[in-house]
């Protein structure tokens, strides 16, 4: 059933869909928009329809989609199917008739073969949509969904992220008729929960956003995000402050409001004794507030030296009748209660020295097979001290490394970290400074979890490096020892991240030591390939160097890989690789016994022999000095002789002695190249 299409001769129309529900969690809205568009396009495509454009919007209470210029009907399809030969047995023809649903007189015959012509008439787009939209709703991939209401007496009732309360489906000006979960598609919606009362009747895609706007709903999330972003900036600058930008908060606040109104409030300056990170976290995580700093004219916009202001910016969902004064007052009170808790924790924690706190780690299990956190701390302290004493981390004082490691996890039992786990490390650093511990120790406690992600800073302070490295290595060694290695997408102990952290600590600080052996070394090799891909280093070259075996010094390994990558990018390198592959292919196929060289070698043969005699020691010397560029240069000297050799000399000579000696020569060439890397692993 399709209604009359408004606009007499129009062949296409715009489609509007609104799925109105109770508040959709802010964090789910972006994915929901993408899913709605994807599923809609998929349904259209399978019906053979192509929209001009598709626009999706979300608010806390609705998902909306507008498809422009949708053809009003699908194309009629004419399809010719080839059947059996006319001479084929009767069963074959019967089967074909069954398949096509035709009778024998509807078939045509050409060149002794039956053909069926199937006509699929076009379908009204409204009919297509009336089936497609309920199907999308029923199978929508919400991360969590629920049942509700009277219908939920049956477990087959509709599921949605929160109760679904209304649907608009308009093609052109007409309702696309369907019903899903007891909700009948129509043209009515609701405006802002408090600013508008009664239903709003929508004519079509064109008046949807404007009618909602008049009812205090900004349906375009991007517009709301802009209002939050710019409004927060404006509120801060009007107060003579600078906003601490937070795009995650912008999106979240836009996802919590249909009519966002950023408002600035002040909190008691006395709370500024609490570390700024704590204030920011309290404001952001618990209350979704922005914070602001005092502008500092001599400093760049971001970075150190800015001081937190006693201000917060909340985002209201109404244009309040008093301009927002009551809202700001209420929010200030809530923040004050939160900050008093934070200040209480801050003051309380300072009463217990970190060394005392650390004793409580004996009560916390790190892993049932790896003992308590206290036991882990003891291992990390030994390792950190060793890394410092052995000079693996140059400039690190062994005693300070041990002290920092012993205290690094103590903040896990503080009240503050109990409340805000993401402040681990940071709080320990603060408490260490309050106790008057050396800066190197406080910094190491603060930063020893670093680097936590790809973009995170890598510590460079020696004591910090020693503790950070020891902590991660201990974790990796421990879990590998009890065979808890990451598999596929499962990495419950974040070992990949730990390995990546180790790699970055080692490479950024040029630390020279044997990082691991066996499985763990192979794991590092894999992680190194992933990490170096970002830096443009070819994974096959890393393989080519690891394949030599025995390389557990990541700094030396990367130096060699870098030299190799530069080399294989040169003309000499490419040709040498080609020569290597040719030699390797021959050697793979042939077997021979070494025979005395009782013949006069051809000039190219003699030249290669001489070149190898020269290059071999040079490569050895260069490798001994870890001068990989020189090693590559020495290899490059083989390029012309090997090319000339293949040009002028027949390896598989009829004479057994010649053949054997030439194969020997190629074998020596391969061996010389293998001193630098296993070229057989190199692609291209």
């Amino acid at each position: 059933m399709v209604g009359e299409i408004s606009g007499v001769d129009r062949m296409s129309a715009d489609f509007l869909l609104e799925l109105r529900s109770e508040e959709i969690p802010a964090r789910m809205q972006a994915a929901a928009r993408a899913d709605l568009e994807r599923l809609f396009r998929k349904e259209l495509e399978s019906a053979g329809l192509k929209p001009g454009s598709v626009q999706v919007w979300s608010t806390p209470r609705r998902l909306a989609l507008i498809a422009r210029d949708l053809p009003l009907a699908t194309q009629a399809v004419r399809e010719e199917l080839k059947g059996p030969r006319t001479s084929a047995p009767a069963q074959a023809l019967e089967g074909f008739l069954r398949k096509t649903g035709l009778s024998a007189d509807q078939l045509t015959e050409r060149d002794g073969v039956w053909f069926a012509v199937l006509e699929k008439p076009g379908r009204a787009t409204a009919d297509v949509l009336a089936e497609a939209i309920p199907a999308i709703i029923r199978t929508f991939p919400w991360p969590k969904s629920q049942r509700w209401g009277v219908d939920s007496r049956s477990s087959e009732s509709l599921r949605w992220v929160r109760p679904l309360s209304g649907i608009i489906a308009l093609l052109g000006g007409d309702v696309v008729p369907f019903e899903v979960g007891g909700i009948v598609a129509g043209r009515d919606t609701l405006g802002h929960r408090f600013h508008h009362h009664g239903p709003i009747t929508i004519d079509g895609a064109d008046d949807y956003a404007s009618k909602l706007h008049a009812a205090h709903v900004i349906v375009d999330h991007a517009t709301r995000e802009k209002i939050v972003r710019e409004g927060a900036h404006r509120a801060a600058s009007e107060a003579g402050l600078m906003l601490v930008e937070d795009e995650g908060l912008v999106i979240e606040n836009a996802g919590l409001t249909e009519w966002p109104v950023p408002l600035l409030g002040r909190f008691d300056e006395a709370f500024l004794t609490v570390p700024p990170e704590v204030i920011q976290l309290t404001a952001r995580v618990n209350q979704k507030y922005f914070i602001a700093t005092h502008p500092h004219p001599t400093l760049p916009l971001e970075g150190e030296g800015l001081t937190l202001a006693n201000a917060f910016i909340c985002t209201a969902n109404i244009a309040a009748t008093d301009g927002g004064a009551a809202i700001v007052a209420g929010n200030r009170k809530v923040l004050a209660a939160r900050l008093s808790d934070a200040r209480f924790f801050w003051e309380q924690d300072q009463k217990t020295p970190l060394a005392e706190q650390a004793k409580k780690l004996a009560r916390i299990t790190f892993h049932e097979k790896l003992g308590t956190l206290a036991e882990k701390v003891a291992r990390v302290a030994d390792l950190a001290e060793w890394l410092a004493r052995e000079g693996v981390v140059p400039g690190a004082d062994p005693a300070l490394a041990r002290q920092a490691a012993e205290l690094a996890k103590a903040d896990l039992v503080t009240e503050m970290v109990g409340e805000f786990p993401e402040l681990q490390g940071l709080m320990g650093g603060y408490y260490a400074r309050v106790e008057g511990l050396p800066d190197a120790v406080a910094d190491a406690i603060r930063d020893h979890y670093k680097p936590v992600g790809q973009g995170d800073d890598v510590p460079t302070a020696p004591v910090t490096v020693a503790v950070a490295l020891a902590d991660k290595l201990d974790t990796l060694r421990g879990f590998f020892a009890i065979d808890e290695k990451p598999t596929g997408s499962k990495d419950p102990f974040a070992l990949r991240r730990a390995a990546l952290g180790v790699i970055r600590l080692i490479t950024d600080n040029a630390l020279r030591f044997a990082v691991a052996e066996g499985d763990l070394l192979a794991f590092f090799a894999d992680r190194l390939k992933v990490q170096q891909r970002e830096a443009g280093v070819r994974h096959d070259l890393i393989d080519a160097v690891f394949a030599l075996g025995g390389e557990d010094d990541l700094v030396r390994l990367l130096a060699r890989v870098h030299a190799l990558q530069a080399f294989v990018g040169t003309e000499d390198g490419r040709n040498l690789l080609a020569g290597y592959k040719r030699a390797a292919n021959i050697l793979k196929k042939e077997t021979w016994d070494t025979l005395p060289p009782a013949y006069t070698p051809e000039p190219a043969e003699a030249a290669l022999t001489a070149a190898l005699a020269q290059a071999g020691p040079k490569v050895d010397t260069a490798l001994g000095q870890e001068d990989f560029i020189a090693a590559m240069a020495a290899l490059a000297s083989l390029r012309a002789p090997i090319d000339a050799f293949f040009e002028a000399v027949t390896v598989n000579d009829a004479d057994a002695k010649r053949r054997a000696n030439r194969l020997d020569l190629l074998d020596q060439f391969r061996a010389a190249v293998h001193k630098v890397a296993d070229f057989s692993r190199i692609e291209g």
Partner: protein, 300 residues
């Protein structure tokens, strides 16, 4: 007498909520006469959310959380406080609007104050229950928990019940604009919340944390556990459930006394969960045939 524009006292706020929810068709029940940690534990919510029958009720439930006691010295924390609980099964289509109406009834103007539904799903491993919903914010403060029950006692809620929990002291502090809950006007004749409860908080905090005889508590836990199993076997699931609640509270007291280690904690919680679930299962078993008969097609 109060000025007409003055915010309602603590007791008036409760009376207004009673009047409001009564008008929406809810039974106005009285508190369950046992020590519980939250309004959800009242049988009017847990057991009545099982099964297909309609059920609409509202009540105040005194709730006890021994570890939250602060000897009357913290302006925001109590070991004994009140929750206002509404349960409507099946959840009505306009449940959100009904809730907002109740806020209006106690004096919150939604064009002056910013009311928001912020994602907050609810889960009670002890009750084998979970639901989706929100915490409701008023000017950034959580004033209620709003939940659509999906499971209770490990059973799918068929139909789904809508549950509202108002933290009455916090809501009253907000409405009355006071910074300490002890300063709340309990009535409009000069009696404060502190006059009524401050001494209780002092004494009960001391008892919870320092005095309560742990040996008796441990024995009580074991006794309640045994009695719960006996009641399940005797097919009196409501009695069994009461013992589960009793065990749960004794466990909370033991926690406050600091005599349960981290390792033991999980094991005790598991025992309480088994009691609560077992009671729900027994309740379900007792009534499911009757329910299926009344609601053809309904299955547990």
């Amino acid at each position: 007498m109060a000025e007409p524009t003055q915010s309602p006292s603590f007791q008036d706020m409760i009376l207004r909520l009673h009047a409001y929810w009564s008008a929406q068709g809810c039974l106005i029940l009285q508190p369950y006469d046992m020590r519980v940690g939250a309004g959800t534990f009242h049988t009017a919510t847990t057991l009545r959310s099982l099964g297909p029958e309609s059920w609409n009720a509202a009540y105040v439930q005194p709730s006890r959380r021994p570890t939250d006691g602060r000897y009357g010295e913290n302006p925001n924390r109590l070991q004994h406080y009140y929750q206002y609980q509404v349960i409507m099964k099946p959840s009505p289509a306009d449940f959100q609007a009904l809730y907002l109406g109740s806020l209006f009834a106690i004096g919150i103007d939604p064009l002056l104050h910013d009311i928001r539904f912020v994602e907050d799903d609810w889960e009670s491993p002890t009750l084998g229950a979970w639901g989706l919903g929100w915490e409701v914010w008023c000017d950034g403060m959580e004033v209620s928990q709003f939940t659509y029950f999906q499971q209770m006692g490990g059973f799918d809620c068929k139909p789904v019940a809508g549950e509202l929990t108002y933290g009455l002291e916090r809501l009253a502090m907000y409405i009355q604009g006071v910074d300490s809950l002890y300063d709340l006007r309990f009535n409009d004749a000069g009696v404060s919340y502190g006059d009524v409860f401050l001494e209780n908080e002092r004494q009960m905090s001391k008892w919870n944390f320092e005095v309560a005889d742990t040996d008796t508590l441990f024995k009580g836990f074991v006794a309640a556990e045994a009695e719960c199993h006996r009641a399940i076997a005797a097919e009196v699931p409501i009695a069994a459930y009461e013992q589960a609640i009793e065990a749960s509270h004794l466990f909370n007291l033991l926690q406050a006394r600091g005599v349960i280690s981290v390792q033991e904690r999980a094991s005790y919680m598991g025992r309480v969960r088994d009691l609560a679930r077992g009671s729900c299962e027994a309740y379900m078993a007792k009534f499911k045939d009757e329910w299926s008969a009344k609601f053809p097609g309904w299955t547990a």
